[in-house]
Subunit: 134 residues, 2 copies
């Protein structure tokens, strides 16, 4: 079921500083920040040769990463996104095996304009997993 690692998401309290750190200190190619108000985040893409890291900063009220940053004020690794061919088939297979899908169980359109689902971190050893249909 799991395909490529689409991205690793890192929540940060200061996107400008984090972006400068990945660009200047770590020598990576980073994008301009993109505000995604419908997802409650501003994102910078760190382009690596085989995948990407997404630096996320909360945007607006009720950001999905606000609680994480309250618990981890310096920031930290937030989730891993894997690509899947068929998100509904993946969901049905996962729920049949007892794994919990967050929200109402229906895929939403994610930050890349593609259907995504999140799996409950308690069912996967503390790791929040995003599935994205590509």
């Amino acid at each position: 079921m799991l395909g490529r690692v689409n991205h690793i998401a890192i929540a940060v309290p200061d996107l400008k500083a984090a972006s400068a750190s990945y660009r200047d200190t770590l020598g990576a190619v980073v994008s301009e920040p993109q505000s995604l108000p419908e997802h409650g985040v501003t994102v910078v893409f760190v382009e690596l040769p085989n995948t990407k890291v997404e630096l996320l900063q909360p945007l607006g009220e009720a950001s999905p990463i606000a609680a994480f940053l309250e618990k981890n004020p310096s920031g930290g690794m937030h989730h891993i996104c894997y690509e899947v061919d068929d998100i509904l088939a993946a969901r049905d297979q996962l729920t049949a095996s007892g794994a919990r899908v967050l929200g109402n169980g229906e895929p939403k359109i994610g930050a890349h304009g593609k259907p995504v689902l999140f799996l409950h971190p308690k069912d996967f050893f503390g790791t929040l997993i995003e599935l994205e249909q590509v």
Copy 2:
């Protein structure tokens, strides 16, 4: 400086259960467990098309992931490993820019038999970064 994401490491309290979950529930290809007593971990490799996830369970006394699991008993994302061409050049550039290398600053031979260094998570927004010379 940063090359490919070599792996994403996830610390887990129960490697057998985590391995079964990635294999049976998530449908990934997972390796047999490998005990690395000199690194204080037992590891299972989850092979993805573009990188790998390493599931780590503490092994022996003074495992480097024991404190993390005490703080995160269910497990969680532990570090990201990036490939670099020249680890000494990378280290010198990083320390010159003020980033802290863990330990005595000298590369050690990592779990893949190659020189590695870890960077202080406080200098990188809560993310523990491993550099591996490939």
